[in-house]
């Protein structure tokens, strides 16, 4: 694991822990936002393995989809989950979107946990 990947995974774990706390506190917008941040950091960790540094969320999602999902390296649902998380964060920050419900926030946190586990395994295996 490269230092950058390790740093990103650590950051993702912190964001995920925040997301879980905010979910328990029923701060649904906050939970969705932190879970999305966690997933983006994890996607960046994967890209780092590929020698790619992507900045904005849209670039991270695009590169991740192209490099890991279209090639069949990662499960295709992960790309969907990443896009859904980004859109849920957008909704949470929006003053026009409908309010997000508990199930939506809980789902994105749960998916972020699965994504974290898969990413950690992938990064460890790829940089062994």
């Amino acid at each position: 694991m490269t230092p950058r990947s390790a740093q990103l995974i650590d950051g993702a774990n912190q964001a995920l822990a925040s997301a879980q706390r905010e979910l328990e506190a029923r701060d649904l917008d906050g939970a969705a936002e932190r879970a999305c941040v966690a997933m983006l950091r994890l996607a960046k960790a994967c890209l780092d393995v590929d020698g790619v540094s992507a900045g904005p969320a849209k670039a991270v999602c695009s590169e991740y989809g192209e490099r890991f999902v279209q090639t069949g390296i990662m499960y295709s649902a992960y790309f969907r989950w990443l896009l859904d998380a980004a859109d849920l964060r957008k909704a949470a920050a929006s003053d026009v979107a409908a309010p997000i419900d508990y199930d939506a926030a809980a789902t994105v946190v749960e998916r972020a946990e699965i994504f974290r586990d898969a990413t950690t395994r992938f990064v460890a295996r790829s940089t062994r």
Binding site: V49, D50, G51, K58, A59, C61, S62, G65, E66, R67, V69, Q70, T71, G72, I73, M74, Y75, S76, A77, Y78, F79, R80, L83, D84, A86, D87, L88, K90, A91, S94, D95, V96, A97, A98, P99, I100, D101, D103, A104, A105, T107, V108, I114, D117, A118, T119, R121, F122, R125, S126, R128
Partner: protein
């Protein structure tokens, strides 16, 4: 004097896919290929091929021809394109072909090969939960048809029939139109409208800007359920067009709400799809 490859880098950019596509089209004068053929022969994804072709069209090196629903691409006959062709033809052939998309690494599969089961990162519980199959049932490629006129036109909003979009814009509008058709199929009578908003609607979008959409429904009880219902169509179109398609859901009552807040601004800039 520059080496040929350096000259190519300076004129076309360093993208090996872009160079491969250009070489492909310039290899045979008059050669005309459609997107799928270019994507296959350049060994890249449809999204990347679309993106790179849009750049080559914008640069005047490639011409785009639409015949009905089919779009073809051919090398331009402009003097600059002809000069570039002579550079390309003078290069040794290995430089002109598509390169592998990335360096191979232990444990990774070829881009086109199905991955070995132990190389795909997924959770068996998730894979067997039917998320993909359920979503796939929702998303079916929409039949090619003219966009329906919105039942209620937003004041001051443009429509897809706005004249003379650039090639890149056309691709984005096509992606947005396909998304709207899929949303109509998925929601039927509960759908009140699909709109393009944000930078793409305002005409200030960078090349990689998202296709941001607003889906207005009669009511929204569970935001997560609506996300899940449109998840597969967003991912599929994002892959196909090489541009992210995003959405937010707005209830009809909010959309038609009063003059307070940001909504009137969003509404006035939105393009009905």
């Amino acid at each position: 004097m520059l080496e040929n490859s350096s000259a190519l880098d300076l004129t076309v950019g360093r993208s090996t896919v872009r160079q491969a596509i250009l070489a492909l089209l310039m290899d045979e004068p008059g050669c005309r290929l459609h997107l799928r053929e270019i994507q296959r022969r350049a060994a890249t994804s449809p999204g990347t091929a679309s993106r790179e072709l849009a750049k080559l069209v914008a640069a005047g090196l490639v011409e785009r021809e639409a015949e009905g629903a089919q779009v073809y691409f051919r090398a331009s006959n402009s003097p600059f394109a002809m000069m570039l062709r002579s550079i390309l033809l003078a290069m040794p052939s290995p430089e002109r072909g598509p390169r592998p998309r990335r360096l191979p690494r232990p444990g990774r599969t070829k881009a086109t090969a199905a991955p070995a089961a132990d190389q795909v990162e997924f959770e068996p519980g998730v894979a067997s939960s039917g998320i993909d199959s359920a979503a796939a049932r929702v998303f079916e490629p929409a039949p090619r048809q003219r966009s329906q006129a919105p039942s209620e036109q937003v004041a001051g909003a443009d429509t897809l029939e706005s004249p003379a979009p650039s090639s890149a814009d056309s691709l984005v509008l096509k992606a947005a139109g396909r998304f709207a058709e899929s949303v109509r199929l998925a929601y039927g009578d509960t759908l009140r409208g699909v709109y393009l908003y944000g930078a793409r609607a305002g005409g200030s979008a960078a090349g990689d800007a998202d296709v941001e959409t607003i889906i207005v429904l009669d009511q929204i009880d569970h935001y997560g359920a609506e996300l899940e219902k449109t998840s597969q169509m967003c991912a599929s179109l994002s892959h196909e067009f090489g541009v992210l398609v995003s959405r937010i859901f707005v209830s009809e009552s909010t959309w038609e709400g009063g003059p307070d807040g940001r909504l009137p601004l969003v509404r006035s800039e939105a393009i009905a799809l």
